[in-house]
């Protein structure tokens, strides 16, 4: 038995050795490069497609849980081994967090990605990648907030789709007595979105000044939206449950949420699978504006970016992969979310226009047309504004308070966080 096993082992070793030799031969012949890639699950298809369509490059793709990415990179950099050449960042904050002295990972792409190509991305879509005037990543997908609504139900209720926040609040007041709500008022990013819509300055980078943030939550531009949220939470037209909590999901499933503000990916990834709207109902409209604004100013929630390692041995290959992943039209056409690269987005949208799930073919138009209104301050920061909002505003709501009263606490928290993370505050 022992001798038999050792023979098998020997054969396997010989076969393995041969295979390695053959592979090595093939490698030198085609001058192949291997790039290590850390991806999330939805982006695996993109990297696989690149691997297959590029003979000279082999991708060694590892799936990393999105929330673990920065921690694992810190460990890899500290150990100075197994550092990936390319990463997909599912949180826009990662760009800033991975370009500090202590975690200096990201490659500066400013002069590596041609300006003409940069201009093909939607305006402001690369703002999470512009850090202190340098382009440190490329945006994969858009995530600005638009108005999602149940078209048939709105018609049945005899209500027009609001175009201003004043109309939105009014609609909420009219519908709340009948048990309807217009979305949730406790999820941090949408909360930030409401506040930002009026031009509130919640940790916005100051143009032309490195590492400088404008934080001022005392202006009417913040107080007005905050009062609206307070009013709507009080009369129930904004839910006190998060968008993924069972109570709100039930409310949405049973047709009690005829309209809500949500990012571009909400239709396909939340309203359709989780809220289970029946086909032919869901429609979308442009983001809301305040009556005294000329045009909407819409915040985003999500949107991933691709980044490369500044010390990679294969700089050109890395840049090529970053550009291809974010802007190859054929690849992005089959992407899961609205591409930030405009030509890709237009090709991608054909699918959406033809999708019978939506009530009309205007959903894609609403998503694309509103890209122009996306907030230029949707930037990458070294600290999490959402976590600060959860600690202050959301807890205030939990104890029955008003967010207007918690704005000073949020301001203090943000200023402290900004200073701790090396920002100057204006």
């Amino acid at each position: 038995m022992t001798s038999q096993r050792s023979i098998v082992g020997k054969n396997a070793a010989i076969a393995g050795g041969l295979a390695t030799a053959l592979l090595a031969g093939a490698a030198t012949a085609q001058d192949a490069i291997t790039l290590n890639v850390w991806s999330d699950t939805p982006r695996l298809a993109t990297f696989e497609a690149y691997d297959q369509s590029h003979d000279n490059v082999t991708l060694n793709v590892v799936t990393v849980a999105p929330t673990d990415l920065v921690a694992k990179l810190q460990l890899a950099m500290q150990a100075r081994s197994e550092i990936p050449d390319v990463i997909f960042m599912s949180d826009i904050g990662y760009g800033a967090q991975l370009s500090t002295r202590r975690s200096n990972y990201l490659m500066d792409l400013s002069d590596k990605v041609p300006q003409a190509l940069q201009d093909e991305f939607y305006p402001n879509s690369n703002s999470p990648c512009m850090i202190n005037g340098k382009l440190l990543c490329l945006r994969n997908d858009m995530a600005h907030m638009i108005v999602w609504y149940n078209k048939a139900q709105m018609a049945e209720l005899g209500k027009a789709v609001p175009t201003t926040w004043e109309e939105f609040e009014q609609l909420g007041a009219e519908l709340s007595s009948m048990g309807y709500s217009l979305g949730t008022g406790v999820e941090p990013w949408p909360l930030v979105g409401y506040l930002m819509s009026g031009g509130c300055e919640i940790a916005l980078p100051v143009a032309g000044k490195d590492d400088t943030l404008k934080i001022d939550l005392t202006t009417e531009r913040c107080l007005k939206p905050a009062r609206m949220v307070d009013n709507m939470l009080a009369n129930g037209s904004l839910s006190k449950f998060g968008p993924f909590e069972p109570d709100f999901v039930n409310q949405a499933k049973t047709g009690k949420v005829p309209l809500m503000i949500g990012p571009t990916w909400f239709g396909e990834y939340v309203i359709k699978p989780t809220y289970e709207f029946a086909p032919g109902l869901l429609a979308a409209a442009l983001p809301l504006k305040w009556a005294d604004q000329d045009q909407p100013l819409t915040w985003s929630w999500g949107g991933g970016t691709y980044g490369g390692w500044k010390d990679t041995a294969h700089q050109d290959a890395v840049v090529d992969l970053l550009i291809w992943s974010s802007s190859d039209v054929a690849n992005q056409t089959s992407a899961v979310t609205l591409p930030a690269h405009e030509p890709s987005a237009l090709a991608w949208g054909e699918k959406l226009k033809a999708d019978a799930y939506y009530a009309d073919d205007g959903v894609f138009a609403a998503e694309v047309d509103s890209a122009a209104y996306s907030h230029p301050g949707y930037a990458s920061l070294r600290f999490s504004v959402a976590d600060a909002v959860a600690k202050t505003l959301v807890q205030e709501i939990g104890t029955g308070g008003k967010i207007v009263d918690a704005l000073p606490a949020l301001q203090e928290e943000l200023i402290n966080l900004a200073k701790l993370n090396g920002y100057s505050v204006e």
């Binding site: 921690a71 810190q74 500290q78 999820e187 998060g242 909590e245």
Partner: protein, 281 residues
């Protein structure tokens, strides 16, 4: 010969206990990027972090709640179990132990459901006090209270088993003598058994205190319930994690961790000397 038997433990203790502590202690005086000696700069950074005092208060609140809950709960339950028949006591002890056999991360997830008034088995109680959302429940119990309850249920079962052992090793002639003298079950528990197992109670308090200072999993996993519950810098250990794995500042992380372990050791020593823990009667 006895040292030979201790060797595996000592090796593991050195590899995963002593060495990391010494390594962190050394690291806490360096800038980990350029590897230059920084003196107390890392400690200064931790002291100047506006979140550290708040987190320290959070953790101390949690520890005092949890340790009192554990000392009281475990002692009462163990003494009550000991007055039962052997068979039913063993069965109950096993049931109490079960939550402790589940990893604390899984327990947190379970508790997130228990705390949600829309799905919780304690729904009616929550509604009675007017808590309609999970946010209400958490605000009502306070984060320290929520974490203390979570930790109590995951850790107390193990201690109940330990106390079962301690109680069953008490000399039966003392118990019989007390019974003959007319002590009822309550007097037997409070006058005879409790004074005889107080060392186990002190040990439990010390170990719970040290473990409690390192609170990490419970607050860190709050965001599983949704981002509105996220508490990334609630405890000191979370801050140490943030320093290392968000900011890449392993030196500051080591400094804060050193302070934590120093506090644990100091307090354990105080308790040990104040209670003359190792003195043999």
């Amino acid at each position: 010969m006895s040292y030979l038997f201790m060797l595996p433990y000592l090796v593991l203790l050195f590899m995963f206990g002593v060495f990391p502590v010494l390594y962190a202690f050394g690291l806490s005086f360096f800038d980990t990027i350029d590897m230059v000696f920084w003196g107390l700069t890392n400690y200064e950074f931790a002291f100047n972090d506006f979140r550290v005092p708040k987190s320290a208060v959070n953790v101390l609140t949690f520890v005092s709640l949890w340790v009192s809950l554990t000392v009281l709960g475990v002692a009462v339950l163990s003494l009550m179990l000991d007055s039962l028949g052997r068979r039913s006591a063993t069965t109950l002890r096993t049931i109490f132990f079960l939550p402790g056999a589940v990893t604390s991360s899984a327990i947190v997830v379970l508790w997130l459901f228990v705390l949600d008034p829309s799905v919780s088995p304690f729904q009616s109680i929550f509604h009675l006090v007017g808590w309609d959302t999970r946010q209400n429940v958490i605000s009502g119990l306070s984060f320290a209270g929520v974490f203390a309850i979570m930790a109590y249920f995951s850790a107390s079962g193990g201690w109940i088993v330990v106390f079962g052992g301690a109680l069953s090793s008490l000399p039966t002639e003392v118990m019989e003598a007390a019974r003959i003298d007319g002590a009822n079950r309550f007097q037997l528990a409070t006058r005879i058994k409790l004074p005889m197992i107080w060392r186990s109670v002190v040990l439990m308090a010390i170990l719970s205190f040290a473990a409690g200072l390192q609170l990490f999993v419970e607050p860190q996993l709050m965001s599983l319930a949704g981002q509105q519950f996220s508490q990334v810098d609630w405890s000191l250990n979370q801050l140490a994690f943030q320093y290392a794995f968000k900011m890449g500042d392993f030196g500051a992380s080591a400094a804060l961790s050193t302070l934590l372990v120093g506090t644990s050791i100091a307090i354990a020593l105080i308790i040990i000397f104040a209670t003359k823990f190792y003195t043999i009667d």
